[in-house]
């Protein structure tokens, strides 16, 4: 084939471009335009919005004293979806997670600005009852931390203080239901009066999940829930997350990229306080658009 014909083909190829394969509105520039008010060099790649948001976060900044820990992060958390936050240590993913139920309030030097909205309600509204908020947005921590009480009382604690049940029979029913949902009932039903701290690590973590869902939250935040667990206990928690997704919105911070890939529908990558990229989990792990995301998930830690 002659050089001429090559040139010719190339030109025709460029002219016949149906837009079927054009990138959807998520083309970088457009998303950038959507996230208004952000400096251009700090634009999150990918679509930060979802069709059916449970929580809407806009231009969130977090400072620890003068340290700028979260830099102008905007992100939607979709209803009944599992969102994974990934990124190296110190990237701000846990800090951002803790903004979602105002856990950062407990840190004196911490200051949060921006908008965080749960079902249309600004959760940083000073009139808002933080205890009520944390009932709606529950949390599970890295290390299982059951109360030094019986298995039964661990789960019953929340419903009791929030007055969610009318009598003992109702409370019994609720405890059973939560332990079933957490996949723990079969293992503990005959020893509910024994201390929660006597369970194995994986069981303790599932007890904490049962405790979290006992107050009927809408969102569950999980901060590295499996980092202290063995692979079998981890698999059980991951299966549980998948089941819980039907009724709850879940945000999980994890250091295991494989875990993020396994459990989440959307993945957000944080780096030095910036939300670098967010997208469908399949896309993030097969074809990330930002070089920093690619470097991190492929194991190139610069």
């Amino acid at each position: 084939m002659s050089d001429e014909s090559i040139v010719q083909r190339e030109t025709t190829g460029m002219q016949t471009v149906p837009d079927k394969h054009k990138r959807e509105p998520s083309s970088t520039e457009e998303v950038l335009k959507q996230a208004a008010g952000k400096p251009s060099d700090r634009q999150t790649v990918g679509d930060i919005t979802v069709a059916n948001p449970k929580m809407v976060c806009r231009n969130v900044n977090v400072y620890y004293d003068d340290k700028h820990a979260i830099k102008d992060v905007s992100l939607d958390i979709g209803t009944n979806e599992v969102v994974a936050f990934i990124g190296p240590s110190g990237c701000g993913k846990s800090t951002f997670l803790r903004c979602l139920n105002r856990m950062n309030d407990t840190i004196d030097i911490c200051r949060v600005t921006g908008e965080l909205v749960l079902d249309g309600q600004n959760i940083y509204d000073p009139r808002l009852d933080v205890v009520q908020l944390r009932a709606r947005v529950g949390m599970v921590f890295q290390k299982p931390n059951p109360f030094p009480k019986s298995i039964y009382d661990n789960v019953a604690y929340g419903p009791r203080i929030h007055g969610l049940t009318a009598n003992k029979a109702e409370l019994d029913e609720m405890v059973k239901g939560c332990l079933e949902k957490a996949g723990l009932w079969k293992e503990v039903h005959d020893r509910l009066d024994q201390p929660g701290t006597g369970l194995s690590g994986g069981q303790q973590q599932r007890l904490c999940i049962a405790r979290a869902i006992a107050v009927s939250p809408e969102v569950i935040l999980m901060d590295e829930p499996c980092s202290a667990l063995d692979p079998i206990a981890t698999a059980k928690i991951e299966e549980l997350i998948d089941e819980l997704r039907e009724n709850y919105t879940i945000v999980i911070v994890t250091h295991s990229m494989q875990q993020a890939a396994r459990v989440s529908q959307r993945t957000a990558y944080f780096h030095l306080g910036d939300l670098i990229e967010v997208g469908e989990t399949e896309q993030i792990f097969t074809n990330p658009r930002h070089k920093l995301t690619e470097d991190y998930i492929t194991g190139r830690f610069g």
Binding site: R9, V17, H21, T286, H290
Partner: protein, 248 residues
């Protein structure tokens, strides 16, 4: 064998150095396999041109090397998937290599087929065929060789434009194949004595046409490798243009 090709794609920079090394080894083996396959086609066509049955037999005998490389590379791909859980660009690279070696192995088989035909043609008791029967074999051979070379270069250098050019070039080869079939039918109708040779030639041009298809596949995998878009069965123009347009 052509110049040695080195895959320039950056698979370096992993914190785990042995991962870098394993990926580098994988890449160089694919390029080695590509070089072997190119060489087989060139030798088969030369054997036809030189009427050299011995050289054609050598080509047939060398195919096992290509098969062995396919098995080896595939095994290393599987091991990398199991041991490293590759993601993103690394994952696409391994998937693409694993698929490309299948196509390369098939191209090797087609080259072997051509060589077998050369043996049959010059080993037969009938008189040597008229050279005009082979005209399209050589022109198609050139096109197919160019496509394969282009596909391997594009893969080695991660060159989207080149990959697109190869994928589109397959139409030329198909046209040439159709015209070869028309000519060969005409010759056979004109003179039934050429049928024996003509059938062998048909097998050869068919093999070359298939080589073009496999080269096109490799080019399409390359576009996927670079851009993360699967352009198979869509016509490469669309994704390719996008690929060119948006370079992030």
């Amino acid at each position: 064998m052509g110049d040695e090709r080195i895959m320039t794609v950056n698979t370096d920079g992993h914190t785990v150095k042995r991962y870098d090394e394993a990926l580098a080894r994988l890449r160089s083996q694919v390029m080695e396999m590509g070089g072997l396959v190119e060489d087989q086609i060139a030798r088969a066509l030369k054997a036809l041109d030189d009427e050299n049955v011995g050289a054609a037999r050598d080509v047939v005998g060398r195919d096992h090397k290509i098969n062995a490389l396919e098995v080896k590379i595939d095994e290393e791909c599987t091991q990398l998937l199991a041991l490293r859980q590759p993601m993103a660009g690394d994952l696409r690279m391994i998937m693409v290599i694993s698929k490309a070696v299948t196509d390369l192995e098939r191209i090797g088989d087609e080259a072997q087929k051509i060589a077998r035909m050369v043996v049959q043609i010059y080993n037969s008791t009938s008189s040597s065929p008229s050279y005009r029967l082979f005209r399209e074999v050589f022109s198609m051979g050139k096109l197919a060789t160019n496509m394969l070379q282009g596909a391997l270069d594009a893969l080695a250098r991660q060159d989207v434009d080149k990959a697109m050019e190869v994928a589109q070039g397959d139409d030329d080869l198909d046209r040439e194949f159709n015209s070869a079939m028309r000519h060969l039918s005409t010759y056979m109708m004109e003179d039934a004595r050429v049928i024996g040779h003509a059938v062998n030639v048909i097998f050869m041009v068919k093999a070359l046409e298939r080589i073009g298809d496999h080269a096109k596949n490799i080019a399409e995998y390359t576009i996927y490798l670079i851009k993360g878009k699967d352009v198979r069965h869509t016509g490469p123009g669309e994704a390719g243009d996008e690929a060119r347009g948006e370079d992030d």
